[in-house]
Symmetry: C2
């Protein structure tokens, strides 16, 4: 059997261990990916990790297994990224520092399956998660749609979980706003759950992303939703909870966001509505929570929180050379003395407005471009 | 003309100056009440205060004027209290330390007109203000009624402004809950405004209080409502805002509460409702705000805030002798080894349940009695 390289080993390890496994993270830190896989294949399992993966490992040829995973990945139009890839979002590394005494299995992902046209890392630079109840009210649905729409329109990527209710409304709002949206799934990207949302998932793939830590074929087991929530919380600087009953996965996502030192925001509702009870309980603390009533307030609050960072993010000429070709094209089309709308920039650059709207957040974050409300100019 | 004593002078000064006057407060601090009045009557006005009161002072005989004020006060069944009286709530003294750079006229009241059966100072020991929009929604009305009801039922005095809308609902809720409620007016207690609420004001007088810094006959001028708000904020340890549009007197009351280091609480509502926009803006800071969704949470939060004080408030035997006769009767009827409901205590003490519910907060505050949810026993 051929020895698998590090990247291939990470893919195989993702089929052997559930995401977040603390023992795997420890083994990877000591032995590296190939070394860990070699260690796991030793006869006579002695460590807890060896015993845990024994059943899934079996006697199968791992090169064959790898071939199968790559084939099903290709078949559903997905790609695999690992920490070594440029598209890997650095924010996920913060999961290293997350402490949950009740649950040690909150380590960072080692592989992600992505399905869709969006490039993950740059899309996460200006992003917000919107989460909430599946069993939402028409009020919650309306609010989540408006937040998704308003954030997407202003160039922010909307991250959610693809579920019924608030998640779905947030994704749909973002699509209507002409922006990017990412559904973080608790199952394989080849069979996004719930199946009734399949038209929505298809539309998300066109401009956004389906994302999963699980390989294609994985089914959405109950505990996987909670494991998945740490990724939603980690990917974005802020998590907005729209509606949540007292017992709700959305509240767990908010807790993860706190543990990761992210901003938690809540949209209040009537105190007479059970669907808002969990939201209001979050707002009562003890964790710090921002009350938001409009998407503009989300951006305003994130802007304020990031003010200290802004000078450090200003662009320098030599950074310009490091830009990918499409981003450089967009930058060349942004005027210095007047402002231009994204459609004008697109016309000037010979790109689609969607491409320009996808790139502009990156240029804004890196300090090359200033502007808002669809009026941009070069940073002087 | 007979020289007026200090108490009489304060009553006359209340007819000469608008409440909160900073110049008057300074003169009182230097010359005392009688001395200030003497100073103001000197010919050839030279100070701003002298010039300000000249028109109202005229050449009238002040003994006659005093007689008139006392007569109209008596006629409407009211009484006058000043800082020297036992019924004067110490909390109003905190207005001394309040700093509002834009408005120096926020000094403490010097006289209060009270109409009703409640004794003010003990009633304020466990009290909460509920304020909000006149132009409220049915949601706001429902919530304010429930908060008034729930707080009153648990022995807390509900303070508000007697206006249409939220104020009215809070008062009505408190009356329905069988508890005490205080309407702080911006006009004379003989002509409470708005006149359409006269049946409500009559009911408030039966068990609660109408309260005003203005002498009988004073009309509710627009600026007086804002002056009045500082008293609502100062009287109670917490102010709960139920519904408030972006421009709203209730938000000014909340600001006063902050300036006085009181707790500001807000009841959220739908973000789609303009009537809740001011509430949510308060919740977004910069001042600290507690989100509350039920009256129990108001009490819980105030309890937590007061925990540090609790030991200092424990009763000692010699304090027991200082209790007024009715309070001593109630205390004698509270069991040591079991708990008793307020109705049982009333039967044992030969008092009405209302009297017992009025006294119990005092005994709880002073540490003689422990309990909640209508089950009380002596502090061991």
């Amino acid at each position: 059997m051929t020895e698998l390289n590090d990247r291939e080993s990470l893919i195989i390890l993702s089929t052997l261990c559930e995401p977040g496994n603390a023992d795997l993270a420890a083994a990877l830190a000591t032995h590296g990916p190939s070394g860990t896989l070699r260690m796991l294949r030793r006869p006579h399992p002695s460590t807890p990790l060896q015993r845990a993966v024994a059943a899934r490992l079996g006697n199968e040829d791992l090169t064959e297994r790898l071939g199968h995973v790559l084939a099903v990945t290709r078949a559903c139009g997905a790609r695999i990224i690992t920490t070594a890839d440029e598209e890997w979002p650095a924010a996920l590394g913060d999961l290293e520092g997350m402490l949950d005494e009740a649950d040690p299995n909150t380590r960072p992902p080692v592989c992600l399956w992505l399905r869709g046209k969006l490039e993950l890392a740059p899309a996460m630079e200006r992003s917000v998660s919107i989460v909430g109840a599946r069993d939402c009210t028409s009020y919650g649905r309306q609010v989540a749609t408006e937040f998704g729409y308003g954030l997407a329109q202003r160039g922010w990527t909307v991250v959610s979980g693809g579920a019924y209710g608030i998640d779905e409304a947030a994704h749909r709002g973002a699509l209507a706003g002409g922006g990017a949206t990412v559904a973080v799934l608790a199952c394989g990207v080849d069979r996004p759950y719930p199946a009734c949302n399949s038209t929505l998932f298809d539309r998300i793939c066109e401009t956004g992303l389906l994302l999963s830590e699980w390989p294609p074929g994985a089914i959405p087991q109950r505990h996987r939703f909670l494991v998945r929530n740490r990724v939603i919380a980690a990917l974005t600087p802020a998590t907005v909870v729209v509606e949540a009953a007292l017992r709700s996965g959305a509240r767990q996502t908010a807790r993860r966001a706190w543990e990761l030192d992210r901003t938690v925001m809540v949209v209040p509702g009537p105190v007479t509505s059970k669907a808002s009870a969990g939201v209001h309980q979050l707002a009562r603390g003890p964790g710090e929570v921002r009350i938001v009533t409009r998407p503009e307030e989300v951006i305003e609050d994130l802007g304020r929180l990031g003010e200290d960072l802004a000078p450090a993010l200003r662009g320098h000429d030599h950074d310009r050379d490091a830009l990918e070709p499409v981003a450089a094209k967009v930058l060349d089309a942004v005027p210095r003395r007047t402002t231009a709308a994204s459609a004008q920039i697109a016309a000037q650059a010979g790109l689609t407005p969607l491409e320009v709207r996808r790139i502009l957040p990156l240029l804004l974050m890196r300090g090359f471009v200033t502007g808002s409300d669809d009026a941009y100019r070069l940073t002087s």
